[in-house]
């Protein structure tokens, strides 16, 4: 049961992020909602590769005196998560830049007032 906690937490983060996106009015809060979803997905990714009792997947740094077939956590999901975090930083930066630009032009961050494009 406790082993499934990361997956539950990831789902909660994703749902909270979507809820933020659907109900909040401030552009910055929307960005926070997107970051929440990203973190939820990253948490899911990194917890997928965890092996109970495993050590870091680096052969030369394995603890002394451990048997050869020591369990190691899977390295691929960690690499994927790192990539995904980097991509997340880039997209978040772009989102915040656009929010600043919109504020400069309109003087507001309220999504319900930023609707020049409609219909």
């Amino acid at each position: 049961m406790i082993g499934n906690l990361p997956f539950v937490a990831a789902m909660v983060l994703v749902v909270l992020g979507l809820w933020t996106l659907m109900t909040r009015r401030n552009l910055i809060k929307l960005v926070v909602g997107i970051v929440l979803i990203e973190n939820g997905v990253n948490l899911l990714l990194v917890s997928l590769g965890y092996v109970r009792g495993g050590v870091a997947p680096i052969y030369t740094y394995a603890p002394e005196g451990t048997p050869v077939d020591i369990p190691m956590v899977m390295p691929t999901p960690q690499a994927l998560t790192l990539t995904s975090i980097v991509i997340g930083v880039a997209t978040t930066a772009l989102l915040l830049t656009l929010a600043v630009l919109i504020h400069r032009h309109r003087g507001t961050l309220d999504v319900r007032k930023i609707r020049e494009l409609r219909g």
Binding site: E38, L44, P77, L80, T91, L94, L98, L101, H105, G119
Partner: protein, 513 residues
């Protein structure tokens, strides 16, 4: 180890390198930048054409990154652990579309974009978006698919928003970016689920394993949802008219190619990755979404008064036709009747036809904008007196898009109508009705902007580079219209075949045996 083996990675690497070196060239001199852009673009197009010749002549090309030899896909234990690029006929066909639109956009941008108003930015982001699309179309690795999806996301939204001194582009880019990030995260979630289930990211290996269990279905739902949004299906299309309508002309046509890359991703997932597990219900869902897309966007196009936004709605409606026909193919993929294959061919053929005529229309809108400084149908009129080339190209593109024989839109739409009719006559009737409405929309746009007495002061005629960009697309429209059979037999049919029955060949090319 010959040069020809490395063509798939060169096609992706050339525009990527070009994108990052272009600003450096611009620091030296702006003519050097233009020259460099032409060199990079020409090299990329040459690589894509070479790849297409290899694929259509000699079957699927596999390229493994980081291996001793490009064809060593399997690791020492017979398990595909390396990143692979897999170019089958469908991937090569999509790469050809991106070559057509990317090349035309680059040439057009040379004459259209202005120094001091983000010309360097727009050209380098255009190359970056091109590289991302090519990666998306050629990759055989699911996580790489996500990474390239995000590259196209960032590049596309940068391209929409780079005119920061206006108020609408940043708004359109923000909305598009929110949607694209959400779609990308859904794809990533699906990738995570599939990795957790099978411990692999290689699409051919996963395709071999996927059986239709609970996790597989959840991943399928996430992939279909995310990629349908990326392709712009109603009711998740709303970012598309905003983005196309606000972007520059050369940007808008690359965005169209990007949308089609999303559609390609959807087809690849459904036919190759889930080829054994996709059910007719998913096909019905996509068919009905396609019909809805066609109708809603055409009705919205009727009431638009900004030329760019009107063409943008036309562009989204064409995605509806492709979804409609692809859905018909999915419904029938189990029984494999003749008309299912025809529907898939129609859908694939319509992609390149739509790319050519919508691209031409967007480029004409750009020329109108440049000539008059406005894109509002309420103040335009009589442009045909002075803008002869632009009017001719606009008329050609509009007629082709509405499906008037003998232009190219008619050939593919005929295939779509007939195959959809076999499945459901009502849907076929709706598709024809939407096409008639589309003709009305473009008659209205053409009459309003180009016919009648002169209304506007024309300051800047289109430059030669712009005319070359438009001319290339117009030539494609006419050539594919007059000789559709040649195109279908040699290029479209193999591409559709790669989706329809090519799953085993795809797996065999990567996994061996």
């Amino acid at each position: 180890m010959s040069f020809a083996m490395h063509v798939p990675i060169l096609a992706i690497a050339a525009p990527l390198l070009g994108a990052f070196s272009l600003p450096l060239m611009a620091k030296v001199h702006h003519r050097l930048r233009d020259l460099w852009a032409i060199i990079v673009g020409a090299f990329t197009v040459a690589m894509i054409v070479t790849l297409a010749v290899q694929v259509f002549g000699g079957g699927i090309q596999v390229y493994t990154l980081g291996a001793e030899a490009p064809d060593a896909t399997l690791g020492p234990e017979g398990f595909p652990i390396r990143i692979t690029l897999v170019a089958d006929a469908m991937g090569a066909f999509m790469a050809l579309i991106s070559a057509l639109l990317g090349g035309a956009a680059l040439v057009y941008a040379l004459g259209f974009a202005q120094d001091g108003k983000g010309k360097t930015l727009s050209m380098s982001l255009l190359l970056l978006l091109w590289a991302g699309m090519l990666g998306l179309k050629l990759t055989g690795d699911l996580f790489n698919f996500f990474v390239f999806l995000e590259i196209t996301t960032v590049a596309a939204c940068g391209l929409i928003a780079y005119r920061v001194w206006e108020s609408r582009p940043p708004e359109a880019a923000f909305k598009t970016l929110v949607m694209f990030i959400l779609g990308g995260l859904m794809v990533l979630l699906a990738v995570a689920l599939l990795y957790g289930e099978y411990g692999a990211l290689n699409m051919a290996y996963l395709s071999n394993q996927i059986g239709g269990g609970l996790i597989d279905r959840m991943a399928l739902g996430l992939l279909v949802g995310g990629l349908l949004m990326k392709a712009g299906a109603v009711p998740m299309h709303m970012w598309a008219p905003d983005a196309y309508g606000e972007a520059d002309a050369n940007t808008a046509i690359v965005l169209v190619a990007n949308t089609q890359a999303g559609l390609y991703g959807l087809l690849r997932m459904l036919f190759t990755l889930y080829g054994g597990a996709a059910t007719p219900e998913v096909g019905w869902l996509i068919t009905s979404l396609g019909a809805l897309t066609v109708l809603v966007t055409v009705l919205m196009a009727v009431v638009q008064h900004r030329l760019g936004r009107l063409v943008a709605y036309g562009a989204v409606s064409q995605i509806g036709y492709m979804l409609l026909a692809a859905g018909v193919a999915l419904v029938t993929v189990g029984a494999r009747p003749e008309f299912g294959q025809l529907a898939l061919q129609g859908s694939v053929f319509h992609m390149i036809n739509d790319a050519a005529c919508i691209g031409l229309l967007f480029l004409c809108v750009g020329a109108v904008h440049r000539a008059t400084g406005t894109g509002d149908l309420r103040s335009l009129g009589g442009l045909a007196h002075t803008e002869r080339w632009t009017s001719g190209f606009f008329l050609l593109g509009a007629l082709a898009l509405a499906g008037i024989p003998p232009l190219n839109g008619f050939a593919s739409k005929l295939m779509i109508y007939q195959s959809v009719f076999m499945l459901s006559p009502i849907l076929a009737a709706l598709a024809v009705l939407a096409s008639i409405l589309l003709l009305a929309v473009f008659v209205r746009a053409f009459q309003g902007a180009f016919l009648g007495p002169r209304q506007n002061v024309v300051s800047k005629p289109p430059s030669p580079a712009m005319l070359i960009g438009m001319g290339v697309l117009a030539a494609v429209v006419i050539a594919f219209g007059l000789f559709p059979d040649v195109m279908v037999r040699h290029v479209v049919a193999p591409a559709a075949e790669a989706l329809w029955t090519g799953r085993d060949a795809y797996m065999a090319a990567v996994l061996g045996g």
